[in-house]
């Protein structure tokens, strides 16, 4: 078994299970220089104890100017009795292993090789810049399977993910993984995640949706002056479908008013004075908005978001002529993400919204994706956009409004 241990730089190969017969497989490998000189940098062979050992021996002597790399990995066609969940992981992590091997000259292989395994010997050209021997392995971190790394990354916030993206190529790809961002998005914006999933089912282009872009746009949007985390959709044609998605609840405040005008008036007075949503002066008249922002009762340190859907300015103006709210978008209708949210018929109304116009969706899905990158080369203030606002919000007052809207939702049911 080939092992990698801290400080252990010797090559070892245990071919337990291999026999004389297994060595009868064609030997097509050779010393690294042969392949480096040739035009075939990639060779697929069957394992052979002697040739593998020969290569390993040669590889030990390979150094500059070769700077090539040999990697041996186990294929997937093993036939063990019990399903071994690490086998897939190993194959997934092979890229990382290759990298480690290229730089350290050590081979990492957690399984004994068998004759049924497919061994791949890869000789890669040296990287443009000279790479010396790596630092001593401080653990096997770079051979962690990707799915394990994904689980680790799920505990990181956007800033730390961006930092990780500039650590290595593997980290870069992991930090930009759609799976990761989808799971983060699902955790942070549960409501709209369901909404998008429903949209995805109805539109064939939807699967290409970039969760990361969505997440970051919400997280970094500075439109809200107070908390910097609101996500106002005015003047954002690419998100029209989301704003359209709340059309069905657009009339809900009116329903509230119709049912209980006193409560409506109360909400207006409160919202006029303390709403944290900045007013987009150039908002499109009549366009509804769907605003996701951090809940008021937190200090912006955690990602417990509430979905908030303000009614359109026109609706506000029409319904409340002369009201201080007529020029604002702060009439809010909260859809709470508490345990009863999904039981709310209103929520089902949102989540089963009909797909909007195709052109709008195309605009949305054709958007450029955002790529994570870190500012190790940049200035510290590059991170300002990624830093959650620390400003505390008037939690007590807003929670009162939230309670009011919560009760209004209950009434609607």
């Amino acid at each position: 078994m080939i092992k990698c241990r801290p400080g252990d730089d010797k090559l070892g190969l245990d071919l337990r299970g291999s026999s004389k017969e297994e060595n009868d497989v064609p030997v097509r490998c050779g010393p690294p220089s042969k392949y480096l000189e040739g035009l075939r940098p990639y060779k697929r062979i069957k394992p052979c104890q002697f040739c593998v050992e020969a290569i390993l021996k040669d590889f030990k002597n390979v150094g500059p100017p070769w700077e090539g790399a040999i990697a041996i990995r186990k294929g997937l066609n093993h036939t063990e009795r019990f399903a071994d969940p690490t086998v897939n992981s190993v194959s997934l992590a092979t890229r990382a292993n290759l990298q480690a091997e290229k730089l350290t000259g050590r081979l990492i292989h957690p399984h004994p090789l068998k004759h049924t395994d497919e061994v791949i010997i890869t000789i890669e050209q040296a990287m443009p810049r000279r790479v010396g021997l790596a630092k001593p392995c401080n653990g096997h971190f770079d051979q962690l399977p990707q799915k394990v790394l994904l689980q680790i990354f799920r505990y990181l916030k956007a800033k730390d993910l961006a930092t990780c993206s500039s650590v290595s190529k593997m980290f870069y790809h992991m930090s930009n993984s759609i799976e990761l961002w989808e799971s983060l998005y699902r955790l942070a914006y549960t409501s709209t995640y369901t909404l998008f999933c429903n949209l995805a089912k109805k539109n064939p282009r939807a699967p290409s949706k970039d969760w990361k872009m969505e997440f970051l746009r919400k997280y970094t949007d500075k439109k809200c002056e107070e908390c910097g985390l609101s996500y106002n959709l005015y003047n954002r044609s690419s998100h029209v479908h989301k704003s359209s998605a709340v059309k069905r609840i657009e009339d809900s405040p009116r329903l509230i008013e119709a049912r209980n005008p006193r409560k409506r008036i109360k909400s207006q007075s409160k919202a006029t004075t303390i709403s944290p949503i900045s007013t987009p002066t150039t908002s499109i008249p009549g366009s509804p908005a769907f605003d996701l922002r951090r809940s008021y009762d937190s200090d912006c340190s955690s990602l417990d978001f509430h979905a908030i859907a303000p009614i359109s300015p026109v609706s506000a103006a029409d319904s409340h002529q002369g009201s201080p709210l007529s020029d604002r978008t702060c009439e809010e209708f909260s859809v709470f993400e508490d345990s009863s949210c999904t039981d709310n018929p209103l929520w089902h109304q949102i989540s089963q919204y009909d797909v909007p116009q195709t052109t709008e969706l195309e605009d949305y899905f054709n958007n450029d994706t955002i790529t994570m990158g870190y500012n190790s080369w940049g200035k510290e203030d590059d991170w300002m956009d990624m830093t959650p606002c620390k400003q505390k919000l008037p939690s007590a007052q807003f929670s009162e409004i939230d309670r009011f809207f919560a009760s209004s939702i209950t009434e609607l049911q």
Binding site: R5, P6, F82, D84, P85, T86, S89, Q99, L103, P110, H111, M127, V131, K135, P136, N138, G139, H140, F141, D142, L144, P145, V148, Q151, I152, F153, R154, Y155, K157, D160, T163, C164, S165, S166, V167, S168, K169, F171, Y172, T190, D221, K222, S302, L303, D304, E337, D338, S339, C341, D368, I370, T371, M372, G373, N375, S376, W377, G378, D382, D385
Partner: protein
Amino acid sequence: MASESISVTTSDDQTIQLSRKHAQMSQTINSMLEDSVGADQEAIPLPNVSSEVLKKVIDWCTHHENDPAPVEKVKKLNKKREYKAKNSTISDEWDKNFVNAELRVIVDILLAANYLDVKGLFELMCKHIANELKGKTPDQIRERFGIQDDLTEEDKAAMRKAWGATKNDS
């Protein structure tokens, strides 16, 4: 009747006895046990786990043997609290001491927990490593975890460009 202890063979050819209760905390061993009902009592091979790591796993299982199953925990929490459960804070003092080990051991335990499918232990290790990653610069991460910087200047330039575009976009 099934015996109360189970033998497992580790990658370094050591046979270790562990109680059935602890063994069943691992979904992998559990499924192996279910598959081998009625068969001869043989030691279960664990080719990917060394005896040193397995002992650590057994320690953790012993400490957490009375914990409710993770699935039950989630059921009791509402959505909001479920998200907070993703917080990487390790609250248990025993767990804090448990993860206070060499990185090599931590990674080995993580891989073993992944292989043995011990969810609680796996999450604990993930949290610990995530905490190690937090707040560090790329250089510090590379140094801490022994990762080589294989990003070329072209990669970095592309990332820089993409990041600039992102900033302008937002």
